[in-house]
Symmetry: C2
Subunit: 302 residues, 2 copies
Amino acid sequence: MTDAAWIAVDWGTSNLRVWALDAGGQAFAAHESDQGMGVLDRDGFEAALLTLIAPYLTTDRTLPVLCCGMVGSRQGWAEAAYLTTPCAPPDGQAATRVPAKDPRISVLILPGIKQISPPDVMRGEETQIAGYLATNPDFDGVLCLPGTHTKWVHISLGEIISFQTFMTGEMFALLSKQSVLRHGISDGEFDQSRFDEGISDALARPQSIAAQLFGVRAGALVADLQPSEARARLSGLLIGAELSGARPYWLGQNVAIIGDGGLSKLYRTALAAQGVDATAVNVTDTTLRGLTAAYESLKEKV
Amino acid sequence: MTDAAWIAVDWGTSNLRVWALDAGGQAFAAHESDQGMGVLDRDGFEAALLTLIAPYLTTDRTLPVLCCGMVGSRQGWAEAAYLTTPCAPPDGQAATRVPAKDPRISVLILPGIKQISPPDVMRGEETQIAGYLATNPDFDGVLCLPGTHTKWVHISLGEIISFQTFMTGEMFALLSKQSVLRHGISDGEFDQSRFDEGISDALARPQSIAAQLFGVRAGALVADLQPSEARARLSGLLIGAELSGARPYWLGQNVAIIGDGGLSKLYRTALAAQGVDATAVNVTDTTLRGLTAAYESLKEKV
């Protein structure tokens, strides 16, 4: 078996993902678990990590482990203090050392980034941004990182100038699974035309979003809106309202989307209807690239 | 003990409230439980009702029971088909008979009201509206019924002309208790100035509501926003966004609010800042008045 030179870790609220990389910088294995920050108390992080990386541990040397994400939050393994905008994404020198008990690992966590006014924060996305900039060093424009808390980020000269977070993904999850809307919503084939209508209706009247949302329920009750149509309409309404609020970020801008395939496609489609031709890159690859870039810059510190 | 001439029932998603009324139409007792529609299956409704009204049951006569609310929905005890706008609030003649098993009760459920375009529905509020119109028969203007699903209702010549529902209350509950915002929110003294700021910020940029909501979390992390301030700001943002969407309902209109004291006061304050001097009436009294008006009109049917 290949020896791991170091371990890259993307540790979010819901998931833990690790890669084992060889001395040449190639990831030769990846593992995942549901041991996200949200389900762990402070003492649980080390065990959750060791479970996934056990095959790569040896007693004759210390294995460097570099993490990004919510693992560095106040509720995480150890708090990694934020950098402040405007700033370049953090390199490895800015990482915080975690006092791991197991001598076979040496753990560092990359900081997140905060913005003072208006107040905003990111943890994990800064590493995705670093990964994007590693292969697009001259990028000038806007990055959209869709997810639970979608980020719109203005990049210029390699720095994060400003950003804005929308709770779109979390609202979709809460509304589709825990609100009154859940009675009329189900998975099933995605209805693109209902999604498009939702985008268009929300862009036309974003101030009425709370009424348009109830209309998804009412549509099921009095207008025969089908459960899979309702799901697509809900998604369209929420993303449409976000696009309305984020207009200063994308209007007339060079936009790239860093996300998973399905969600990126929804954003690309919606932006295309507004005349914006966004490119899209895979978020997992980009995260690993960002962790790799940070690792290259801290080799001497580990 | 006074004999009950009939029982009035307000049966919503979360609560069941009954009043016992004497032959003169006076309520002489009231009881409540948490056996709302949401926790009952179809067979559970009769037992939940009998538990509360046991003291008033006799074997020598059948006790009329008149209900309004979600008990008449498809997931309720029996479906009471909607009336359609424009229409007057339903009187007792429009009620649906429920096949109760216990011969000591005769149960009727008042219908809700639907609007075809844009799709919307109400169940329970139509009876509050009937109660309001019973004492204000010449009212012409807009009723605001704040709650889990706040309704704005245009009334003219005794009819419900149109209405619009906002999910504001349910979104507040989900966001404050189940979203990432819960980490920075607590009860405590209500911070009026943070509420006012939230109203004002949402009215200024309603399209950015999903970003302003995340800002409540970010404000706690980077700008020292305190948990009780955060709660007031969240409330202000959501009500402010609603007021923005509902502007066609209240701008330059004669507005009355039917709600509980605390929530009505928030809406009155927010509307006053927009130059609208709304009156407010107690929702519980108004509901009972509406059930009484409907009962008077159906005495011959029971």
